[in-house]
Symmetry: C2
């Protein structure tokens, strides 16, 4: 087996007997200083532990710092209240249970929802800033606004399942890169907490005792290998694996088609591979967050999304991650947004103009669609839209548009 | 964690130090006597090993005995030649590489194809009977015939990628239950080989030495626990996990919708869970073989498959497993085959008659489809079918039918 193929597999373990000496001893070691690592470190310290955070990069942030800095919080946070939106833990729970796939983890979702207001207050107390404002142009914010619909809450059939509320809470920053602010604040909070952060330290291997209990880590720093003992536990928060070609091939080959990868260099799956080596059971490894936003600007939702057969396949108001999944996994990664002059706007997200035409028939030809396909789709759509209806995807009448072709 | 949730997780391991005595010692232990276990046992014995096969049921057969007894073989087998079909390992390889998903295992497919003729001869030599005949009504045979197209070889775009050949080789039996004959013959071959079969023996745990090497198994028989040493290796062939609710929930929740499960009681995932406990890396756990045949009878392929939006979504000639996957995973498990009086026939596979109507408009209403949806689908289909074309899925002209509605 080649070293390269090994990159897709669990790491080796180090037996305690092989550790000659501990270079350092603490209660809890946190591997990775992204959002999860920061929260874990702060809380472990607060619980009385001596905490050492090991980060492979030159400083904290990780992939969280590259994110849009949007947190899914609800149940009646201060921002939701200030903006006039009613919400409850129960409605949030009902929505998530219905929208998190075929086997949602009920206990985890319950816990997440019941403590969501508390999580928001925790973030604020740690210095993470939010503005008391609502943004209606899309699921992520291009401005310094906070609250947005960052899911399918308003999308059929969810309004019938749970009372909709916007729950995306974006950290205060004028632009999309709010994740940087989130991590700047959380890293500062870790420093204040008294947890010790050691950067430029790549944790490579877990150390196990004869009972296979994890008792420390082996890390690489400039100058060589170090062994750190963790008296009470090691917390792995070393994220995803999208930058590990072998793991993507092995576990999530469908994701190879994604062009832009929102990930730090460190997302090479080492955290997962170490956990697996210690007997951890990695599940849902094929899942990824596949994002394909058509808004902002919101007017583009009035366009019509079709596949290569000229058929509509999803409501145009679908959450960007739902659209991304369906487009990549069910439509071979190729979808088209049809707009007329009145609806056209330059999308914020990267997209190509595939064709421009004067009629549906011409557009079909330009795009290589089957003759009649798009024409019929538009004809049926128009028939219903003229009555303010969409029996296909139950779009809100306000999102429908009559295409006067 | 409850015992029930434990059913979804790797089993415990037994340390060698805890084994007080070996109840039996052999070179190779094979766990499970389905098709894979039988082949492994025969070949291990032939290679000179002392072989013990442990089967939890009262006798060999397993899920293989419940199958249609169809083996994918090609490259120019005696049956292919007798029936006048040309094939080569290279064409078989090209087809499988193109049709086995986004990350096919090239080395394994190459090996499989290069030795396929040899595999066929091996089965014949072990006493597995095949008739020199071709069956054209569907991918599995209702008769005693052997050869059939059991894949997408004839389906667009595969004929352009590889020269099509029928490669489904069904074991001689007059009916669909050829798997019983396959296993009857293979179990007899195991007995002849000199491998020892011990039934009513449930292997529960692997035994590992201090280097984590697997050196034996712990098994449950009537009367208690036994420990068997394997000097040279343990081969796990204890199949799938469709009858383990916790594993399905955990790894393949989409498959919960499947109504009929072609599996023996023993398919509770214990083989996989034991392998994982020993450090085995279980991959593609979300995959299942989801079968949804519309033929035989073949005339039903002339119908039109649509989803709940009245749209065609796949070529009607698609292989039953491709159709099953797309129907379950992309169309929420709900699809409709539209046929007229001329095309109607009672399908062999279970199916419900959802509605009967005199016109597409009436059928739409009966099925609750959006108004105009099916009418437009049929109109576009008819336009093309009248010219002998299907630009949507490139069906063979002979499979197209003009619907005179």
């Amino acid at each position: 087996m080649s070293a390269k193929r090994d990159m897709g597999r669990p790491t080796a373990l180090r037996d305690l007997a092989e550790v000659r000496r501990w270079d350092r001893e603490v209660d809890v070691i946190v591997v990775g200083l992204g959002a999860a690592g920061a929260c874990a470190a702060i809380e472990a310290k607060r619980a009385g532990a001596e905490v050492l955070v090991l980060e492979r990069a030159g400083g904290g942030g990780g992939t969280s710092a590259l994110s849009t800095g949007q947190l899914y919080l609800g149940g009646g946070t201060a921002i939701q209240q200030a903006c006039g939106f009613e919400d409850s833990a129960e409605e949030m729970y009902k929505y998530l249970m219905a929208s998190c796939g075929p086997n949602p983890d009920e206990a985890k979702i319950r816990l997440f929802c019941d403590h969501s207001v508390e999580h928001f207050s925790w973030l604020v107390a740690e210095g993470v800033p939010f503005k008391e404002s609502f943004y209606g142009e899309g699921s992520y914010t291009l401005t310094d606004d906070c609250l947005s619909y960052s899911g399918n809450e308003l999308v059929h059939p969810y309004p019938e399942i749970a009372k909709p509320a916007p729950r995306g809470h974006t950290v205060l920053f004028d632009g999309v890169e709010s994740g940087g602010v989130l991590m700047q604040k959380l890293v500062a909070a870790v420093d204040r907490s008294g947890a010790v952060v050691q950067a430029n330290t790549l944790v490579e291997t877990l150390v196990v005792d004869p009972h296979r209990r994890v008792v420390g880590v082996v890390a690489r720093i400039v100058g060589g290998e170090q062994c750190y003992r963790a008296r009470r536990g090691v917390i792995l928060t070393a994220g995803g694996f999208i930058n590990n070609r072998e793991m993507v091939d092995r576990y999530a080959p469908e994701l190879r088609k994604c062009r832009l990868r929102a990930a730090s260099d460190g997302d090479d799956g080492r955290g997962i591979r170490m956990g697996m080596a210690a007997g951890g059971d990695a599940i849902r490894m094929g899942n990824g967050c596949i994002v394909l936003p058509i808004s902002p600007p919101k007017i583009l939702i009035k366009g019509i999304l079709v596949n290569r057969r000229g058929q509509r396949f999803i409501g145009e108001d679908a959450y960007q991650t739902t659209l991304g999944e369906v487009a990549l996994l069910h439509q071979a990664g190729e979808i088209f947004l049809i707009v007329d002059d009145e609806t056209f706007a330059r999308p914020f997200a990267p997209a190509e103009i595939a064709a421009v035409a004067e009629s549906p028939a011409e557009l079909e030809r330009e795009l290589g669609f089957p003759e009649g396909s798009l024409q019929h789709t538009l004809a049926v759509y128009n028939e219903h839209a003229s009555r303010g209806e969409d029996p296909f995807f139950i779009l809100f009448p306000g999102l429908l548009k009559f295409f006067p072709w």
